[in-house]
């Protein structure tokens, strides 16, 4: 639906077409939600979202099943049904939420809070359309074929995990819409039924498949899953519009609903020919001339389609894309943090069960209790005075769940990327940090990376266990500018506090030459810079967080030494800090 000119000034001023997209989305979901994974609906709860959900339920004719994102794994997958098991005298497995949702639409609320450890379960189930439960002594498999409406209420740094987004075909941001923008319904449930019948018969031409692949490529989308979803959505749209085959208009809607939200780069201008298929294999070279003409014409047609699709995108949207892409990259890294932290905040990993007393507020492990009691059932019923068909459990049988809460530690690397440091020892410092990272890795310590230069300190990498990311962040570390030492120490302090709040132990390694020359308010001044740095250092020292200061100056300077003593941290000048001594200091830190 090309929007009229006066409406395309800013994204927020064209809610009418956005509502139209939402209408399409609801209809597409109702037609073939199962086949495209579902939708990610970004935006705060409100009348628009409620109204849309109502619309969707009307169209699909079935109410959604609401599943909170914090639903525990045993409920998602199902497990031993205790009452039924006791009644039947044989293990009865209860269906988990995922299996119960077969043929329905799951409303995943607060999807941005989906714990990392459940992400895999959701994704595997969506991929395989089947859930396998292997818990409490029984294995069961059930087919479950559902679509997910992920309600993403994330603000700023929160978003649904990338792995889930990859599986959800549609993405719409409803935040620009207010209830006044809600338009009329375009589709009826009869349209849906016709479309369901029609959709499988709708063909996509080779050109359209190719256009989808090319569009994805231009937008920097790598996942074949997205392209597949795009192809399917194109068919559904054509079916909904009552067309016999998908046309360019369908592809354009697909572009908006499926591909664009996942763009990671601005599409290259169509003028400068971007090598479409990067050099076909040399073997084809000889036969190319015969087919060239045909291929070229073919390519031209595709090109026209793409060009027209791109041209129909409002200009501001393209501009907003860059920002969005950068933001989403940030979001991804932060989403990783949310997961990692939750994993440690939880009660710990279950490590079996032991004999115990429920009255002490421990969690009873019913399956284990039953298992303990089971062998004695015969004897107990012989000795019992009644002849009731019950499972007899004595207090000795009771087993309680044991959780191990390994307090994890997070090592914060504060890296001086300022000009002075960069010129002197940056590569050496990087080398030292890599060694330290390797050590953190063997200790299963999480790492975070803060870089500082110019007028501020930046959290490049939130606490993570992924060494790949740590290494990448480090190698992409930019250099140059002043040394905002105070800001750096403050961000270390802030991060440490948030790590402590999440139940882990922070420690830090500050890698710098100690030449603070940017003050707290961002002005360049050597004296104010060092003064602010010392103040910040004392504040951090009061938190009694363990730390090391690695002095990267060519000659160990009193400045760095003073800073270290203000921080009450270990001082290691780099010339002396061989890999070995660095490692042993870090070990001392971790031992505490």
């Amino acid at each position: 639906m090309p929007e009229s000119n006066e409406q395309s000034a800013t994204p927020s001023s064209k809610p009418a077409s956005l509502w139209q997209d939402l209408e399409y989305a609801a209809a597409i979901l109702a037609v073939g939600g199962h086949d495209i994974g579902g939708i990610r609906l970004i935006g705060q709860p409100g009348p628009v979202r409620d109204y849309w959900l109502e619309r969707f339920e009307d169209l699909s004719g079935k109410p959604c099943r609401r599943v909170p994102s914090n639903t525990a794994a045993d409920r998602l997958l199902g497990g031993l049904d205790i009452p039924e098991t006791i009644k039947a005298g044989a293990p009865v497995l209860s269906k988990g939420v995922l299996a119960e949702c077969h043929d329905r639409t799951v409303l995943l609320t607060m999807a941005e809070r989906l714990p990392q450890e459940h992400l895999g379960i959701w994704c595997t189930t969506l991929d395989q359309k089947r859930v396998t439960t292997a818990r409490d002594g029984i294995t069961q498999r059930s087919d479950t074929h559902f679509a997910v409406i992920a309600l993403d209420e994330g603000i700023d740094d929160e978003a649904t995990p990338a792995a889930l987004n990859d599986r959800l075909g549609l993405t719409i941001d409803i935040s620009p819409l207010s209830i006044r923008d809600v338009g009329d319904s375009e589709f009826t449930s009869r349209d849906i039924n016709t479309a369901i019948a029609q959709a499988p018969n709708i063909p996509l031409t080779d050109r359209q498949y190719e256009a989808i692949a090319l569009l994805a490529d231009r937008l920097g989308i790598n996942s074949p899953r997205k392209m597949l979803q795009a192809a399917r959505v194109a068919k559904f749209i054509a079916a909904l519009d009552g067309k016999q085959c998908a046309d360019d208009e369908s592809i354009q809607t697909v572009l908006r609903l499926v591909l664009l939200p996942h763009a990671t780069q601005l599409p290259q201008s169509i003028e400068e020919p971007q090598e479409a298929p990067p050099e076909p294999p040399e073997a084809d070279e000889q036969e190319r001339p015969d087919t060239e003409q045909h291929a070229d014409q073919h390519e031209d047609e595709t090109e026209t389609l793409i060009e027209s699709s791109m041209a129909n995108l409002p200009a501001d949207l393209l501009a907003a894309l860059v920002v969005r892409a950068q933001k989403s990259r940030q979001r991804q890294t932060r989403a990783g943090k949310a997961g990692a932290v939750i994993q440690h905040k939880q009660r710990g990993r279950p490590v079996g069960s032991r004999r115990g007393d429920v009255r002490r507020g421990e969690r009873i492990d019913i399956a284990a209790t039953l298992r303990t009691a089971a062998p004695f059932q015969r004897i107990r019923s012989l000795h019992a005075n009644d002849d009731k068909e019950i499972v007899r459990i004595e207090s000795d049988d009771v087993r309680v769940k044991r959780f191990q809460h390994r307090k994890s530690s997070v090592m914060i690397f504060g890296v001086d990327a300022s000009g002075s440091s960069a010129h002197q020892r940056m590569s050496e410092a990087k080398g030292a940090i890599e060694l330290l990272l390797a050590d953190c890795y063997t200790h299963r310590t999480e790492v975070a990376l803060i870089a500082f230069k110019g007028d501020r300190a930046e959290l490049l990498l939130p606490p993570t266990r992924s060494l790949v990311r740590a290494k990448r962040a480090l190698s992409q570390l930019p250099g140059g500018g002043g040394t905002p030492m105070a800001a750096a120490i403050e961000s270390i302090e802030l991060l440490s506090l948030s790590i402590e709040n999440s139940g882990a132990t922070p420690s830090y390694i500050l890698v710098t030459d100690g030449a603070a020359n940017v003050s707290r308010d961002g002005t360049k001044s050597r004296s104010a810079g060092s003064e602010d740095a010392l103040t910040a250092a004392k504040s951090l020292a009061r938190r009694s967080i363990e730390g090391i200061l690695v002095d990267t100056a060519v000659r160990p300077s009193p400045r760095a030494r003073d800073l270290a003593s203000a921080l009450e941290s270990v001082y290691l000048p780099l010339p002396n800090a061989s890999a070995h001594s660095l490692n042993s200091s870090i070990r001392v830190l971790q031992g505490q």
Binding site: G137, R232, P375, R465
Partner: protein
């Protein structure tokens, strides 16, 4: 029952297909680890492998599908004691999925509650490891597996025996399986100990060129629309590959490995400083399996060269910071060695 996407209909990803076929020919190589981006078809390819595996002979009624031809030591206790009256059946090679969220008792096996409640009998209910004996154990998202499950797996994968000491049970049974894992490195690291258990490892990427991508979407779309007719279309190709793997399994023992291949593998391992003999052994076995797969009677240097990267890339001296350049290092060593 959902139909699996045919192995031979997977576009590109030749490395992954090759590595999996090699593991199917010689289970002794020790499994395959596939790491890669989202949507590269990791799980699809691995699940598709199940259709290509030949049948094996097994003792009838044995929960661990013991091999009737093996020595008493390798059999489970019940098969070992009843060696005389065994009946033999043909079974498809088991491919067992270890689902995320599986509990330890299900993985290792535990007390059979039903028998216990009904008969007051302490019976062992075999777990997933028993089901995977002589077959494949597939762990999707292997890097997200809970730590205590990994602990349980590590020991069994190394020893080939599952010892269960819980709930008053004391059972040991054979559990020799080929570990196949897949995951996305962005979502978490793999425990180094677990990494060691894999014989071959590879890194898959999304194909970048448009025609391949178009082909992927078209085929997958066609499959999802009508899985049955799609599978039929590929039935012949699947059959051919299945026979090829079957023949290779039979021929494996007769494939010679000449001294020059042995020497070259030793030289490769030495130049890369991989620790222990495991790398060399796996190199030789993989080269032999590849030769068998191609119907050659003797493994040659070409075979060795083809498998070297898979075998060695995760075996370099543990320097986790060098992960990304590991491939480059191995490739350099390979090209040096084959100058």
């Amino acid at each position: 029952m959902t139909v699996a996407y045919p192995f031979t209909a997977i576009v590109g990803q030749d490395d992954m297909k090759l590595a999996l076929s090699i593991a199917a020919v010689d289970p002794g190589i020790g499994g395959v680890l596939v790491f890669g981006e989202r949507g590269t078809g990791k799980s699809t390819t691995i699940r598709a492998l199940a259709n290509l595996l030949p049948k094996i002979e097994a003792v009838k009624g044995c929960a661990y599908h013991c091999d009737p031809a093996s020595t008493a030591k390798q059999l489970c206790s019940s098969c070992a004691s009843s060696k005389a009256e065994q009946k033999i059946i043909k079974l498809p090679i088991p491919v067992v999925d270890l689902p995320l969220g599986a509990t330890e008792d299900r993985v290792l096996g535990s007390l059979d509650i039903e028998k216990a409640i009904h008969n007051g009998e302490k019976a062992f209910q075999p777990g997933l490891l028993a089901a995977a004996n002589r077959g494949f154990l597939y762990i999707d998202e292997v890097n997200l597996l809970e730590d205590h499950i990994v602990d349980a797996l590590l020991d069994v994968a190394a020893s080939g025996v599952n010892v269960v000491e819980r709930e008053g049970l004391s059972v040991r049974h054979p559990a020799r399986f080929v570990l196949v894992g897949s995951g996305n490195p962005e979502e978490g690291e793999l425990r180094p100990q677990l990494l060691d258990r894999f014989g071959l490892s590879l890194d898959v990427r999304t194909p970048k060129d448009i025609p391949t991508r178009v082909e992927i979407i078209k085929l997958r779309d066609a499959f999802d629309q009508n899985p049955d007719s799609f599978t039929k279309r590929f039935a012949r190709k699947e059959g051919a590959l299945r026979r090829k793997i079957d023949c290779a399994r039979d021929a494996l023992e007769s494939v010679e490995v000449p001294g020059v291949v042995l020497e070259k593998s030793a030289q490769l391992c030495l130049s890369l400083g991989t620790d222990g003999l495991r790398g060399e052994l796996t190199l030789i076995r993989s080269a032999r399996a590849l030769a068998a797969l191609q119907g050659a009677s003797e493994a040659n240097l070409d075979h060795l060269r083809q498998v070297a990267l898979f075998v060695l890339r995760h075996r370099l001296r543990r320097d986790p910071m060098d992960e990304s350049s590991a491939d480059a290092r191995v490739e350099r060593a390979i090209s040096d060695a084959f100058e």
